[in-house]
Amino acid sequence: MRAFTQHTGLVCPLDRANVDTDQIIPKQFLKSIKRTGFGPNLFDEWRYLDVGQPNQDNSQRPINEDFVLNFPRYKGASVLLARENFGCGSSREHAPWALDEYGFRTVIAPSFADIFYNNSFKNGLLPIILSDEALDELFEQCEATEGYQLTVDLQAQTVTRPDGKQYAFEIDAFRKHCLLNGLDDIGLTLRDADAISAFEAGHRQRQPWLFRDA
């Protein structure tokens, strides 16, 4: 998993509450055998005017010019501003996969759905919870300023505006540690690789018939 330490990036404001995972990545894309390839279909129903299908050439599809992600000024955005209960609905891990692949490194919202919040950490996407007031200010500044950027510092647990104002955010110490070091569940277990190897050696000696490679 990619580590998250500090990030400065262009901000895109998605001013809607209760954005659910079916809106983040519609169900027809879940049939895929991959965990990549979802970026072009992020927010598919909003970004395009037709109904998207898996394995389609998205460059030929009619674009919804009114959807904020399609505004030229937000092209290349990596910080998403959102409203409450972002990521509700089904538990699909495809949602953070799609956001991550599109290029978002962090989503800032007043609240997140539980499973989405968990899944995000597993996939190197940082969900940041700030107050409603803070979000109001950020939405306002972002919409008023072309090229608006924010800086997120995970170590310091701060979001910094271009004018220098900072917001502090809370994060579970263990999750912070994993994200700072790019440790996913597998990465964490592999830190015990020596213990696993030692156990395996003893296990092999006790029950050699469990091993066929010898």
Partner: protein, 475 residues
């Protein structure tokens, strides 16, 4: 040293590291893969630049999506009509080839349902930890193994680390003493258990089946039991090792041989719960009381003996239960107090990881022999659990018995157990099925599943309605 249950022993034997937060790293001996839950796990490995920890711990076979008609199978991969199915089966082949994992491909005689293939090959051995991205992995516990299903991210975790992060469960014992009446099988025992304790009865527990009626069962019958532990809410089902277990394993391709065999047998003899071991929960049933079972509703706990009547919500005092009975009756198209034996069948399915082994096919064939599938039954399928089961059945002439009686004799796979391949129910159809789940839509949208034993399914096929199989068979 204090007394231990079988589960305690298996846990202790695989504990790599106990963590402070109560979780533990458990070493995995055998990982079985199929086409549905593995593709993203392999991709995850690639994306992270990781390699499988121990290739020889893995075996794979496609089962959920493979078509079961000869015509489609003979054409190989390209002949799989459904695109998603074809891609999934193909992807499994490609991943196994790329990583060097042993796979029994679609038209290999060793191919079949993961939970039939593992034991059949001796790839499931007593004392192992066995995992697979499929909830019915509990089946393998019949060998005194610790076996359970895992999710896709855990499939990746096991591939990469040969371990799982787990928390120890509680111990539960289901004790069945006495002698099973004639015509009553392992499937009836486990349905009766689920009817008694409910689909959440085993939540948080590792469930060991014990007692004289369990010891009397064949190893195949024990697999049927453990297979459905998950339907009782327990991720893990187990039966202690005895002579039958060892006899079953002997000589199988993956089983140890020679001096190593003797050593293994010595070690396996310890795979029983100590006499005074502590169980957090104990459930007792008398074998004599169990009759052939039929599920009437949309959850495996909605099950009755074949001579009973469908429940009447009016006499249920608990409003939540009443509602669920009303809803189930409506979905199943049944009326309150209707005798089970009045339920007519549109299709019959004999197969699935619960009941597609040779013993199951023999039991069904014994009933079908010399009889005909009722004219009112549109389709009666027999789907062997593996290519080897199919070959054995054909050697014994069972295929001819079925075909003569009007059953279709298919190629191995999950088939009509779940609506993921072309074998499925039409809306509103009733099916006597030897599978394990009767949830709404499980066998096809609007389909109505009744769970039964293979003998009961065959009896339903020839009479067109449910009947106590003992009326057709003499002791």
């Amino acid at each position: 040293m204090s007394a231990k249950t079988l589960y305690d022993k298996l846990w202790d034997n695989h504990l790599v590291k106990q963590r402070d937060d109560g979780s533990a790293l458990i070493y995995i001996d055998r990982h079985i893969l199929h086409e549905v839950t593995s593709p993203q796990a392999f991709e995850g490995l690639r994306l992270a630049g990781r390699k499988p920890w121990r290739i020889d711990a893995n075996i794979a076979t496609p089962d959920h999506n493979v078509p079961t008609t000869k015509a489609e199978r003979q054409g190989g991969l390209e002949a799989i009509a459904d695109e998603v199915s074809r891609i999934q089966v193909k992807t499994l082949d490609e991943n196994c080839d790329a990583f060097g994992i042993l796979e029994f491909k679609m038209n290999d005689v060793r191919q079949g349902i993961v939970h039939v293939v593992g034991p059949e090959q001796g790839a499931t051995l007593p004392g192992m930890t066995v995992v697979c991205g499929d909830s019915h992995t509990s089946t393998h516990g019949a060998f005194g193994a610790l076996a359970h299903g895992i999710g896709t991210s855990e499939v990746e975790h096991v591939l990469a680390t040969q371990c799982l992060v787990a928390k120890k469960m509680k111990n539960m014992q289901v004790r069945v003493e006495g002698q099973l009446p004639f015509g009553v099988t392992a499937k009836d025992i486990v349905l009766a258990v689920i009817g008694k304790i409910g689909t959440a009865g085993g939540n948080g527990h590792a469930l060991e089946f014990a007692g004289s009626a369990i010891r009397d069962l064949s190893v195949e019958g024990r697999m049927t039991l453990c297979n459905m532990a998950i339907e009782a809410g327990a991720r893990v089902g187990m039966v202690a090792v005895d002579e039958k277990t060892i006899e079953y394993v002997k000589g199988r391709p993956f089983a140890p041989q020679g001096a190593e065999w003797d050593r293994a047998v010595e070690a396996w003899k310890d795979l029983v719960s100590d006499a005074d071991a502590h169980f957090d929960t104990i459930v007792e049933l008398r074998a004599e009381d169990i009759k052939p079972q039929v599920s009437w509703g949309t959850s495996p706990e909605m099950v009755l003996a074949v001579d009973q009547n469908v429940p009447d919500p009016a006499v249920e005092s608990d409003p939540v239960k009443r509602d669920s009975i009303v809803r189930a009756l409506k979905y199943m198209g049944l009326t309150a107090n209707q005798p089970i034996t009045e339920i007519k069948l549109d299709r019959v399915f004999i197969g699935s990881c619960t009941n597609s082994r040779i013993e199951d096919l023999r039991a069904a064939a014994a009933v079908a022999k010399g009889r005909k599938v009722a004219a009112s039954v549109k389709q009666a399928l027999v789907v062997p659990g593996s290519g080897l089961v199919k070959a054995q059945a054909e050697k014994e002439g069972l295929d001819k018995i079925f075909i003569e009686a009007g059953f279709e004799w298919r190629e191995p796979g999950c088939s009509m157990c779940l609506a993921m391949n072309p074998d499925r129910l039409e809306s509103g159809e009733h099916c006597a099925s030897t599978s394990n789940r009767n949830f709404e839509g499980r066998q096809g949208n609007g389909g109505r599943t009744h769970l039964v034993s293979p003998a009961m399914a065959a009896a339903a096929a020839v009479t067109g309605r449910f009947i106590d199989v003992r009326e057709l068979m003499q002791a």
